[in-house]
Assembly symmetry: C2
Homo-oligomer: 235 residues x 2
DNA sequence: GATACGGCAATTGTGCACAATTTGCGCCGA
DNA sequence: TCGGCGCAAATTGTGCACAATTGCCGTATC
């Protein structure tokens, strides 16, 4: 079998970590991961440091890498950061949205509605996240796009696993409200719509976010590796 | 002499790069830097990859690290990103600023005015940058603080070298205007004040931002190393 | 004269072996 | 019995040597 490349390992570990399904402060030992993926320790080390820099794990000098505790306060921090950043994005776009941009937004919201109608939950979740990234892209500012992508990424996985399906109906309407305010060029209303939408998503998430004991690292890696088409030797 | 640690090398190279005084696409060879700093190639490599992840340099696989071209469009992108992010911060703070926070802001603005009066240009520049970081800190959100710090850092050095001294008077008034709007709790005015302030800073910078041929890498490293108190063997 | 091919030098990527640090456990003493 | 000390095992950090890739230059051919 061909040795796995760095990008693939990073993708798998990202998913595993973002899924929040393994307990907080789980140690990610270099040798163990190296054996699991069938690669050398140095390759794992590089990925681990990269993940550490992306704040997905906590890397302590001379002690190794650990998952961060999935505590409620962090969820709140992430969502508050999103309210601030995406509030700024909404305010910016309200005064600068082009016709082409408006069209892209409208089409996106309609696709969301379609996915929701047809009961395609997976597609709808993906589109819901992409709505926020799309807004960032409409600013045509690569820095903002990257920051937004990072924050959205940190919440997407949470939604995938924890959002109650009962609340699904709301999301689409909330996106539509943001879109309408932007299309009307009403800055204040757009910011408020975005802010309250994010607050509601956070509320829907909270009751489900406490998972202490989950499956172990080995099986999780196997699971996500299969999902991404990679081969992993799980003993 | 004791070997330099990774943090120190990173600090020096950050300053060198952020100073924008070396031409775009300058190659940062691993062996050359290793000899300059008197450390092994692996240590340099690690710092280089970190800088690459921080987007301060461009790291291409199998080809090495290069400085990014200091073109005007990037300056515009950074400032636009700041207008979006810090606009969001201002909007957030306008409705949530505590008395303690207001006091800290007031004191900071007064210190800026004092530095400006006494003609202490270096202190004033430092305080000017810190005003924006302080605003981010008042949100008490670590993610926002980090993002703001990163963007402010990318503009601070530019200001240090390129801002015309004639325009100095304005900055303090503009900060005061932001502070007043926040203290009054007027969200719209705060956002506008922040946005126009950043736009003016950008305007003041632009005419000075085009430096094609500058000093070479060796002397720059020596210069900044001396500034930080480190020892470097410059042949 | 221009272009395409091939070999060479330089530079980066990778795996390995060793050094340094941490930590858990056991032992001794109070 | 409890606290401190010290050693040993495990784990991470570092430097070195080698492999792989890239870009360049010389040459040959059309």
């Amino acid at each position: 079998m061909p040795p796995m490349d760095e990008a693939a390992i990073h993708a798998i570990l990202s998913r595993v970590i973002l899924s929040r399904r393994l307990p907080g402060r789980t140690k990610l030992g270099e040798v163990r991961l190296a054996e699991l993926f069938g690669v050398s320790r140095e390759r794992i080390r590089k990925v681990l440091h990269r993940l550490g820099h992306e704040r997905l794990i906590d890397v302590v000098k001379n002690r190794g890498a650990f998952t961060v505790a999935p505590d409620l306060s962090e969820i709140h921090v992430v969502f508050e950061a999103r309210r601030i950043l995406e509030g700024g994005i909404a305010a910016h776009l309200a005064e600068r949205l082009t016709d082409a941009g408006m069209l892209r937004l409208r089409e996106h919201v309609e696709r969301e509605a379609e996915a929701l109608r047809s009961g395609d939950r997976a597609t709808w979740l993906k589109l819901s996240a992409e709505f926020h990234v799309l807004l960032a892209e409409l600013t045509e500012n690569p820095i903002i796009v990257q920051q937004a992508r990072e924050l959205v990424g940190r919440t997407t996985m949470l939604a995938t696993f924890f959002e109650s399906s009962s609340g699904s109906q709301c999301g689409c309407d909330e996106h539509r409200a943001v879109f309408r305010a932007l299309a009307a060029g009403e800055r204040g209303r757009a910011v408020r719509a975005m802010s309250s939408h994010l607050a509601q998503v956070e509320t829907r998430l909270k009751p489900f976010a406490c998972t202490d004991a989950g499956p172990d690292l080995d099986s999780l890696i196997g699971e996500y590796a299969a999902e991404l088409g990679g081969e992993v030797s799980v003993g």
